[in-house]
């Protein structure tokens, strides 16, 4: 009997010591880890599939991370549901700086269409904007349209005949396409595709007449003269030598300005010390000329913004996109389907 009691007491003592030890350790941990940060690899969530634009940019960051952040990045792809699955994971992660991820314009668009698990623009905080890129409007080079005006004139004469391809309902290509049609007061039919590659294939085969895509998807086809890009959706022209001759929508008298961007973000509430280390590290990584050259080879454009400027941009873009999806009727269409 005594023996049993003794064992019981010892066990209790043991558990208690573990509990106490665990607690004290935990309390000290946040302080020491913030100082020693980073002392283990950093998980980097890419909310899209392997091989996409965000994935490629993430992998370029991965290349130089050990030098500038002191630890390697471990890229984890969490594709699905227009990025929301990955961002849910990111938003729910512990804000200790060991889980960060890449974000894109869909971050602002998705919450507009319906209740998401998190309100991403506030549940996440940007650390750095990496690239900013406009959408391009391209047609097959065999088509007679040389300018946006030609296309508009044709669409007015043949209503409903022109179909445009994009890479997902409610995505930026769709938004830009609808906004263009509305500004030009014409009607275009939309055809959603699974990827930029599928949309490009359909354009080259003549199954759709126009595509709204990111410039990287069709750079090679533009270079070889298979497609003609009629307009760029940015405030300014693209700097890539292939695209410098292409005017913006604005130059052609249409107020269609939508830029996509990729930014690195973390769950809100990082310790200041950790945040500063990440922000500084990312800043040197993104402004590294070698990195910029690689990004340009992908057909993208580096446009670094610090955490503050990125946050401002999130807010202003969010407002603008919310207005556009209401005015173009995209929101109504999606809401109607959801009923």
């Amino acid at each position: 009997m005594q023996k049993k009691l003794l064992i019981f007491l010892i066990t209790c003592l043991f558990i208690l010591s573990i509990l106490l030890g665990g607690c004290t350790n935990l309390q000290n941990k946040t302080v020491t880890t913030a100082k020693r940060y980073p002392d283990k690899p950093i998980t980097f969530i890419v909310p899209f599939g392997v091989g996409g634009g965000t994935d490629l940019v993430a992998r370029l960051l991965e290349k130089t991370a050990p030098v500038h952040l002191g630890q390697p990045l471990v890229i984890i792809n969490k594709p699905g549901a227009s990025g929301t699955l990955g961002w849910n994971e990111l938003a729910s992660a512990n804000p200790d700086g060991y889980t960060i991820g890449i974000t894109g314009t869909e971050l602002l668009l998705q919450p507009l269409y319906g209740p998401a698990k998190y309100h991403y623009p506030t549940a996440l905080e940007p650390l750095a904007q990496i690239v900013s890129l406009s959408m391009v409007m391209a047609v097959q080079s065999g088509q007679p349209w040389q300018t946006v005006d030609d296309l508009i004139a044709y669409a007015r004469e043949h209503p409903g005949e022109i179909k445009y391809g994009h890479t997902g309902v409610g995505g930026l290509g769709h938004v830009a396409g609808e906004a263009f049609a509305k500004t030009a007061n014409i009607h275009l039919e939309q055809v959603p595709f699974q990827s930029g590659a599928e949309a490009t294939a359909s354009l080259l085969g003549g199954h759709v007449h126009v595509v709204f895509l990111n410039p990287a998807s069709i750079k090679e086809h533009m270079k070889s003269g298979m497609v003609r890009v009629l307009a760029v959706s940015g405030e300014q022209r693209l700097t890539d030598s292939v695209y410098t001759s292409v005017p913006t929508f604005k130059e052609q008298g249409l107020n269609v300005v939508y830029d996509n961007w990729y930014a690195v973000a973390a769950p809100k509430g990082l310790p200041l010390e950790v945040k500063n280390k990440l922000v500084d590290g990312l800043k040197t990584m993104i402004n590294d000329p070698e990195f910029q050259k690689k990004i340009e080879q992908l057909g993208l454009q580096v446009n670094y913004l610090g955490p503050k400027e990125s946050e401002e941009r999130w807010l202003s873009d969010s407002e603008k996109l919310s207005k556009t999806v209401q005015e173009t009727g995209i929101l109504d269409k999606i809401k109607e389907q959801k009923k």
Partner: protein, 502 residues
């Protein structure tokens, strides 16, 4: 002659020791990826991308391509030996490969699939060398309405592969199509049948379904039969290789499979999987004794295993000459290229001839290397059968689950693979063959997307859709074949009726 000169130059590039080494490493990793069930080509390449950063770009591309085409070589190994497909593209190989192994012809099945892979891989690469740009252009003529027609005809003909009842097969295919509708709808952007579970928005992954139904399902089946141990006949050395008769029967299917696979590979979708189904169906129709299929017909191994390899070479055509990846594995290959600063596209052949032809030449070399690596391994793999199943199967289960997790890094996927495993086990117990379900899932999404996109393109007129030239040809061929089958069926009933009357 120009092409031969270029190719010769390519060989000079690819036999530089560094490149040759990269090619060897690539095909060895590829073979491993193929042999290990559950480990997916896409996740394997993604995992290895960081290791290539320090490599010369040509060597890195040669290595990635090696992993890609090498993985389809090994896929058949576990299908044949333990009825667990190593890749989704080797599901069909289980149908006849495993019965062959049970008869003690595992070695023959493995050799035929290795040699078939080599023959068809070579057909694919020769096609890639000679015809890449024109074929890529031809593939563009296929738009959404054509994909719809192909999927429709495909569903009708590929759903009944095994000898069980047509009704059961059709039912399974229909369930497969239903499963393909789960997830985010591409036309409206809303999620369907996800019951509020976010992760279901992604839909069901082909690999998860195949690994579950066939891999876990088979493991469960073996678990329930623990007592029927070791009916595996001991294998002599000469039994490792096919007999003359087996050779004679598999040569034609190899070439047929090679050509079928090559054509399928030009179009979007999981070409390797579709081509293996198509080749199996074709072999069954061409065979003089179709009843043997499902009980260990060597044609049923030779055809599909050849087809998936030439499909792989063909998927490189749109990738290299148009820069358009048409399936998941070529998409990751494309990102491997882009990270090394090379953008495949119409300009690649003229701008970087050394790289392009070096890569093609390395595929010839890699294919020979794969044959050299795989043939001696057959003896080793066959020895695996001596491992007690209660040791082998848990290992296979662990590997399958690990591989399944690596596809989307999702715990929910692991749950699904187990659910599908139990489902697959029960289905087979009740006489339903799960392979039509896989083809339903593969073609279902193409069918739906082709229809919705095609209808928008054709201004909502289904008539305009089915009268587009290519679409009309595909559909009428399908209708003819269907008519022929029905006529045969009716005449058989009539004959039976007459006999009864007499």
């Amino acid at each position: 002659m120009d092409i031969f000169n270029m190719l010769l130059q390519g060989f000079l590039v690819s036999i530089i020791p560094g490149n040759l080494l990269a090619c060897t490493i690539g095909v060895i990793i590829g073979t491993l990826v193929g042999v290990l069930p559950g480990i997916d080509t896409v996740s394997a390449i993604a995992l290895l991308l960081p290791f290539s950063y320090g490599m010369d770009s040509t060597a890195a591309l040669i290595m990635f391509a090696g992993i890609y085409y090498g993985s389809k070589y090994g896929g058949s190994t576990t299908s044949i030996l333990i009825n667990v497909p190593g890749e989704a593209a080797s599901v069909v190989t289980c149908l006849d490969g495993y019965p062959m192994a049970q008869k003690g012809r595992a070695g023959a099945a493995l050799s035929v699939s290795a040699i078939g892979s080599f023959v068809a891989g070579s057909i694919g690469i020769i096609g890639l060398t000679l015809l890449a740009p024109p074929l890529a252009q031809a593939a563009l003529a296929f738009g959404p309405p054509e994909y719809f027609s192909i999927s429709l005809v495909g569903l009708i003909f590929l759903s009944k592969l095994t000898g069980t009842s047509t009704l059961k097969s059709a039912l399974m295919a229909a369930v497969g199509v239903m499963l393909s509708t789960v997830g985010l709808d591409s036309l409206s952007g809303i999620s369907r049948f996800s019951f509020g579970i976010d992760e279901l928005d992604r839909g069901f992954d082909l690999s998860i379904l195949a690994m579950g139904m066939f891999g876990i399902g088979e493991i469960l089946t073996t678990m329930t039969q623990l007592n029927t141990k070791t009916n595996i006949p001991s294998i002599n050395f000469k039994d490792l290789y096919p007999t003359k008769e087996e050779w004679r029967r598999s040569i034609v299917p190899m070439f047929r499979g090679g050509i079928v696979g090559f054509l399928v590979g030009l179009l979007p979708g999981p070409a390797a999987t579709i081509s293996s189904y198509l080749s199996y169906a074709l072999e069954k129709r061409c065979s003089k004794n179709p009843n043997e299929f499902g009980c260990g017909a060597i044609e049923g191994v030779a055809g599909p295993e050849s087809a998936n390899n030439s499909a792989i070479s063909a998927t490189m055509i749109p990738l290299l000459s148009l820069g358009l990846p048409f399936c998941g594995a070529t998409a990751i290959l494309l990102s491997g290229f882009m990270i090394h600063g090379i953008t495949p596209g119409p300009g690649l052949i003229t701008e970087q001839p050394a790289l392009f032809w070096g890569l093609i030449a390395s595929m010839y070399i890699g294919n020979v290397l794969l044959l050299i690596i795989n043939l001696p391994l057959i003896g080793v793999f066959v020895q695996l059968l001596k491992t007690p199943l209660n040791i082998l199967m848990p290992l296979v289960a662990a590997l399958t689950l690990t591989g399944a997790y690596s596809i989307n890094n999702s715990i929910l996927d692991l749950m699904w693979i187990v659910i599908f495993g139990i489902l697959g086990f029960l289905l087979r117990r009740t006489g339903f063959e799960p392979s039509p379900l896989i083809i339903g899932l593969v073609l279902g999404s193409g069918l739906e997307r082709g229809l919705t996109q095609g209808l928008i393109i054709c201004n909502g007129s289904i008539l305009a859709m089915i009268t587009r030239p290519i679409s009309a040809i595909i559909l009428s061929l399908g209708a003819l074949a269907l008519f022929y089958s029905v006529a045969k069926w009716i005449s058989r009933i009539n004959c039976a009726g007459k006999k009864a009357n007499c």
